[in-house]
Structures are given as structure tokens and as C-alpha cells.
Symmetry: C2
Subunit: 254 residues, 2 copies
Amino acid sequence: MRTIAVCNQKGGVGKTTTTINLGTALARAGKRVLLIDMDPQGQLGIGLGIDVANLTSTVGQVLERRGGLLDALHSTPQEGMQICPSNAQLAQVEKGLHQRRARELLLQKCIGGVSGFEFCLIDTPPSVGLLTENALCAAREIIIPTTPSYYALEGTFGLLEMTASIGEELGHAVEILAVLLTQYDPRTRITREIENQLQEFFDSKLTKSRIRINTKLNEAQMHHLPIFQYAPRSRGAFDYQAAAEEIFGVRPSD
Amino acid sequence: MRTIAVCNQKGGVGKTTTTINLGTALARAGKRVLLIDMDPQGQLGIGLGIDVANLTSTVGQVLERRGGLLDALHSTPQEGMQICPSNAQLAQVEKGLHQRRARELLLQKCIGGVSGFEFCLIDTPPSVGLLTENALCAAREIIIPTTPSYYALEGTFGLLEMTASIGEELGHAVEILAVLLTQYDPRTRITREIENQLQEFFDSKLTKSRIRINTKLNEAQMHHLPIFQYAPRSRGAFDYQAAAEEIFGVRPSD
Ligand SMILES: Nc1ncnc2c1ncn2[C@@H]1O[C@H](COP(=O)(O)OP(=O)(O)OP(=O)(O)O)[C@@H](O)[C@H]1O
Ligand SMILES: Nc1ncnc2c1ncn2[C@@H]1O[C@H](COP(=O)(O)OP(=O)(O)OP(=O)(O)O)[C@@H](O)[C@H]1O
Ligand SMILES: [Mg+2]
Ligand SMILES: [Mg+2]
């Protein structure tokens, strides 16, 4: 199972939107996909139609029990894609976690026994805390969505420092699979400047595909659907399909 | 001193942009303004030209010493507006804070002795953790910036739950001064729907002023300037001026 964390400590750059739609693109290509939400705001589940606030079987519960991930799975509007959702209880779990030994490795432990999936995508919160560290230690690869803005650029570099120190202090190597520009507006001048900086720094890891600004992506959340179900002919669907092909080499099956 | 927290647990909704620009508008009207950054990502300071990574006198240090805020102030590109910035060290301080009694009241203590300012605006991180709690307990009023998106709406309601429980558990009442729509695009259909929901719920607290999408606001950060210095005739400057007049009743002096 390829385990990939979707990270950027900057808020609102499209981590959740990217996790949902790349996951769905993979499942549409016939892959079995597991999504895990490590953000106590629970938006990965909300965006897929799950009433997270009232759930008891969540990732927070799995971490507390140190296992049982497969019992906390829920189906999604995409066949072949399941999710272990989160809710506010995860914030309580994180508080308790600070005291424990190997506290960054708990999610890795819980994922360890899981089979039956080819891909696992982990959505993370906009912070550099213990929940993001758990995701980074559970994963072997990272996707970094970023908007073409100065603050997001800063967040992207901050994340690199974090992965470097995790590598040093915990001996866990995680590779950048892709940096994906989101909310892309080619007419904006600042976009060029940010793009150039990202190109220079990340080179071939910066995907050629860009996710353009598309209001359908915003509406899709309101309807609790991936973009492919909500607006299959929209720019948002087109762009996420292209990104999935470029990053994973997949195409929709049949 | 009116102390106002700028909060929304949703990422990327314009908390930092709003804190900088409302603060600047107040100072341009002759008010003495103190800005405090409670987000370890330090973007409030970065957006005002401060090299936060290399600072020792920061809000993290003030919290650790339980005082000395006035020694940790820096000037900004706006006369009359000063800032107590943050950097990554604040994340370390937060970790240590979990163990202490009255841990939500530390910022309130540190601000308590401060005079010489008429307004204090506190920028917060996109989370519901201890740093945001400290800001909410130090403040008497909140401004909630939100984009017209479904996830941001969810974050807004989540914040209300948090203020309610702080009211109950700590007996500290904080009032919503204003809900401010940011990154507003009137042509987008989903915007109408979100607007109506916000109007229904927040009524007169939803400002009539909207901060429209304006690339100048994005560029201003890159140049480490408030919008009024960077692009005084832009829509972004016009909209933040209107918002400041509506929320605070101020106009630029002379
Ligand atoms: N390409 C796009 N075009 C238009 N809207 C977008 C696009 N990508 C994301 N959005 C919208 O921007 C907002 C932020 O996206 P999202 O919630 O996925 O970011 P995030 O990084 O997960 O945020 P957070 O840091 O708060 O978890 C959402 O309202 C989403 O619908
Ligand atoms: N009205 C606007 N028009 C265009 N861009 C905007 C506008 N408001 C904010 N932005 C841009 O959107 C991004 C997010 O804004 P900002 O950093 O202020 O949000 P935030 O809520 O503080 O984010 P975080 O939760 O990560 O702290 C920034 O790149 C900013 O320049
Ligand atoms: Mg998210
Ligand atoms: Mg901010």
C-alpha cells in the first residue's frame, strides 16, 4: 500500500479538496483507496457526505485503541474508496498523546496491519503539530498542494524543514512525490513569480498540471461529492484528472 | 484598550490579511494600535516586513516570562501601529503550556498591564487549540473573517461553539463584533447561498462591506506592506477602508 500524506501547514491551500479528488481519480482507475483524516475539523469526511460530528468510529478512536482501523471505515460516493474520518474528538486525543512515548509513530502503528488497499491518502491540518507529524511518519511520500501566494510559499518551505528534522530525529525518510499548484489563475502577475520560485526550488517535482480556480470545486463540497460526481465536465474535474495521470500514471478504467 | 481577536478555525480565510489591514486603517485614523500574533507561522510579522525566524523578542518569549510585552514590540510600515510578532518558538511554548494551571489565561495576564494603545488586534492560527483559546480569553470582542465557501461556513459555526464553551467553562464572555466576508466574488452562485446563510444566522453582525477578491492584497504580502501603503487606490484598500469605517466608525485622519 502506497501511503501518501497531503500536507501544507498553510491554511486553505486545497489539502482536503486535493485528497478527495486525487483519491477519487485513483478509485475511478480501479485502485482500492483508503482515505484518513488527521484534521480534527473533519472536513475530509464532511466533503464526502459523512455526518462526522455524531460518529463514534473515527480515527481518534482508532488512535486511542492503538488499532482497529478497519472497523472505523466508511464508504464514500466513490466505489472502491473508503474513509476513516475524524471529528473534534481527535483534538482531545492529540492532547493526551503529548505524554506518550513514540507519540509520533502511533498512526504508523495503526496503519501497519492494514491490507486490501493499494493507496492510502492522509489529509492533514494546517499546523506543524503532533497530528501532522503522525501523518508524516506513517507515510512514505508527500503531496504538497499550494496556492500561488507568498504566504503559501512560506508554508511550503516550512514543511520541508519539518520533514528534514523528522528524517534526522526519527530516522524516517519521506519523499516529496509532487508539489501541486492549486487555485491557479494564469492571468494574475504574482502567479508567475511564485511559479518561477517553485520551479526553481522543486524542479521536476512541481507538477505540470495546475488546478485552476473553478467554482465547481467549491460547490462540490456543499453537495458532499467529489468533483467527478458533481461536475464531471468541469475544469476542476479535468484538472484533477490530469494531475492524477501525471502524478500516479492512472486513467479512469472503462 | 479594546482587545479584539481575529478568529476562524478554517485556514486561509483572511485572518492575517484582515488583522494587518484593519489595524492599519485604525492607525491611519489616528488610533494607537497594538497587533499580537498568536500563530507560530508568524505571518502577521512577515507581512509587515519583520524577519521573524531570527527574532528572540517575540510573543512566545513574553508568554514564557509571563510578561514584558512592551519590550517585545516592533514598529511596522504604519506609524502608530506596533506589533508583538511570533515565530516557530511559539509552538514549543504551547506544548509546555498544556501542563500549567490557568493555561488559557496567560496571554490575558501578559496584556493586562499594557497601556498606550487604544486597540489591540490578535491574529490567531487555523485551529481550536490553546493559542486560540488564549486569544479568546484575552479579548472582549471577536472579528470573524470568512470566505463564501461551505467549509469556511462550517469553521465559523465551530468557532461559535468554542466561544460558547469558553463562556461556560471559564466564565469569560466574548462578543462577536463583526463577521466579515472576504475573497468575495459576487458573480459566483455559491456566494449568494453562503451569504444568505450568514445573514440569517448573524444578522446585523454580518458587515455590509465585503472584501472583494483583489490580487493586490496578495501582492502586498510579498512586498511586506499593508494594502494602503502598497496599492492605496486598489479595490483591496477601498474595501478594507469601508470595512474599518463600518466596524469601528473611523476615517483616515487629515
Ligand atoms: N481550484 C479551486 N478553485 C476554487 N475553489 C477551490 C479550489 N481548491 C480549493 N477551493 C476552495 O478553497 C477552500 C480551501 O480548500 P481546502 O479546504 O481544500 O483547503 P485546505 O488546505 O484543506 O484547508 P485547511 O488548511 O483549512 O484544512 C475550500 O472552500 C475549497 O472549496
Ligand atoms: N480579498 C482577497 N483577495 C485576494 N487574495 C486574498 C484576499 N484575502 C486574502 N487573500 C490571500 O489569501 C491567502 C490567505 O489569506 P490569509 O493568510 O490572510 O488567511 P488566514 O486566514 O490568515 O490563513 P491561515 O489560516 O493560514 O492563517 C493569502 O495568500 C492572501 O494574500
Ligand atoms: Mg483541509
Ligand atoms: Mg494567518
